[in-house]
């Protein structure tokens, strides 16, 4: 035998260890399923590491003067404030995974209903496989999409016929959604709220 007993013993134990590491890897990835979701962090904790000043474009008009310190740190609106945005909501808090917890329907047939935001992207449209199905004459099959992008809730119009309106302005490019700001699709409008 060209392989010594000791090598085989080490390999054998190593293999068992590898098997168990795989299992514990899966269990670790599943931890929120097995032991429940971790409690949401406080706003101050998550705001602190977010704003690295070097990340701003040098000429960007950082709207820190109009904001309380905590809010400016939590809303580094990099590329989107580099050009004057058509949506004049730069002073508002952008909805992030931390500060937005629910989507509330504010007008339309189901006004007043809400559902929690989990971090998964939300597709909006008339088709049955959308997360938020809106069945009226103005909505396209795949109308728009709300998603977390760099931890900010962004809304993107998916080439809909009648458009998606953020605070009254028709969306052209994917845009971050501020908190408590109306998004209008067809006859339905909704907001992201704390």
């Amino acid at each position: 035998m060209s392989v010594s007993e000791l090598t085989l013993l080490v390999l054998r134990l190593g293999f068992l260890l590898l098997l168990w590491l795989f299992i514990f890897g899966i269990v670790y990835a599943l931890r929120s399923d097995l032991f429940g979701q971790r409690a949401r962090k406080m706003q101050a904790d998550v705001a602190a590491p977010a704003g690295a000043p070097a990340a701003f474009p040098s000429g960007a008009p950082v709207p820190s003067a109009t904001q309380p310190p905590a809010a400016s740190a939590s809303a580094p609106t990099e590329q989107f404030t580099a050009r004057p945005s058509p949506v004049s909501t730069a002073v508002d808090d952008k909805a992030t995974s931390q500060n937005a917890t629910r989507l509330v329907i504010t007008s339309g047939p189901k006004a007043g209903t809400e559902f929690p935001l989990t971090g998964d992207s939300i597709t909006i449209g008339r088709s049955g496989d959308s997360s938020l199905v809106i069945r009226d004459d103005y909505t396209s099959t795949h109308h728009a999409r709300l998603m977390l992008w760099h931890d900010k809730w962004m809304i993107q119009d998916l080439d809909s016929t009648n458009g998606t309106f953020l605070d009254g302005n028709r969306l052209v490019v994917p845009t971050p959604v501020p908190l408590n700001t109306t998004v209008k699709i067809g006859a339905t409008s909704f907001e992201l709220r704390r």
């Binding site: 068992l16 899966i26 490019v173």
Partner: protein, 465 residues
Amino acid sequence: MPASSNRSTTTDAPPRTGRVRRLHLPQKLRNLELFLLLIACGINAASVVLVQLGALGRIDTTLVFLGAGLSALVLAMHVVLRVVAREADPFILPIATLLNGLGIAMIYRIDLANGESGWASASVRQTVWSALAIGCAIAVILIIRNHRVLFRYTYIAGFVGVALLLLPLVPGLGREVSGARVWIGVGSFATFQPGEIAKIALAVFFAGYLVRNRDSLSMVGKKFLGMRFPRLRDLGPILVVWALSMSVIIFQRDLGTALLYFGLFLVMLYLATGRLSWVLLGMSLFLGGALIASQTLDYVNGRFRNWLDALNPDVYGADGGSYQLVQGLFGLAKGGLLGTGLGQGRPEITPVPQSDYIIASLGEELGLAGVFAILALYLLLVARGFRIGFAGNDDFGKLLGVGLSFVIALQCFIVIGGVTRVIPLTGLTTPFLAAGGSSLVANWIIVALLLRLSDTVRNQPRLVV
């Protein structure tokens, strides 16, 4: 699309001309799956290498190509999932891959002990069957884009299931292997166990049937002993399934398959109605039937005797006695806590060590730690299936998800319980591990269906306006 190109979209895009470019979202679930899948493929390769080092003392490269082909196929399935089922559960595929690979390594190890190689060896055939099974799984993922399509074919599925179950009884087509008539074969080569596929068809049928008819099964009935018992006329379905499983015991002489189907029906009935009385009723029906069978049918009686009195020298030495069972136990005992090491035990002493007794072979060479790891893998797989059922919104998907994963759980319990002498031994295959093409195909199709279910569950509407 990287972040930088997206920046140019937001700053330079002329307003409202042309198609809006989409943001790139990282596929977190799929990336996790890829990571786990690569580890699983690595463990599979390591297990084959360890077998060669242990049994041959050197590394042989003949099986490497087959193993690499298998890994490529699994990765192809991963890529398919990236396109057609982006939100599917990321854990199911790596777990199934690892179990399949461990099974192939152990079968290869037994081939080495028996001096078989090439196309005659079980390991090469098992690898080819695995490739076929993964191909089937990819096809299922591609063809069935929404599990609710299956709901339309409820009764066809039921018919197909029963037909597959009865197929081995057709003269000329059915084959009898070691007493049980559960095989079909054409000529001398191709043998297949249609009952394995039947369990999927029956799960679809039970789910669809119970969703349609559960009200009459759950609402009415007299209260007795603190439980609501069903009316006599609602007993029809359970009696039909009971009769079916009893006929499997009598005509096909296969206890395990009968227990599997009846258990599946019982669990889905309990899920659909939420009534414990159905479970009590069904269990007493089955136990009664099994007791009568053990008194009247020779082979059932023998199984019970082997189970209860295994270490008796008379039973041990008898023809059809407990020799196999006890050899398996000896093997497990030899393995101890950490096992003899892959390729260094003697699992080939037990009869059929590569199919029914693969868990004893693995137990001998990987020890208690290895067997528990394998059981943990099954546990995680089944738990994912239950979780998918739990998260579902439509009743059909719920029942189907739980039913399919429960089939795997029950099958594990019947086989591993039989080998470790917890229950009487009955011939079933250990899912993913044991040598056997039909079982592999069936279980990989179950994996595909669970993946599809988990994808639709995540994509279903949360609010309809």
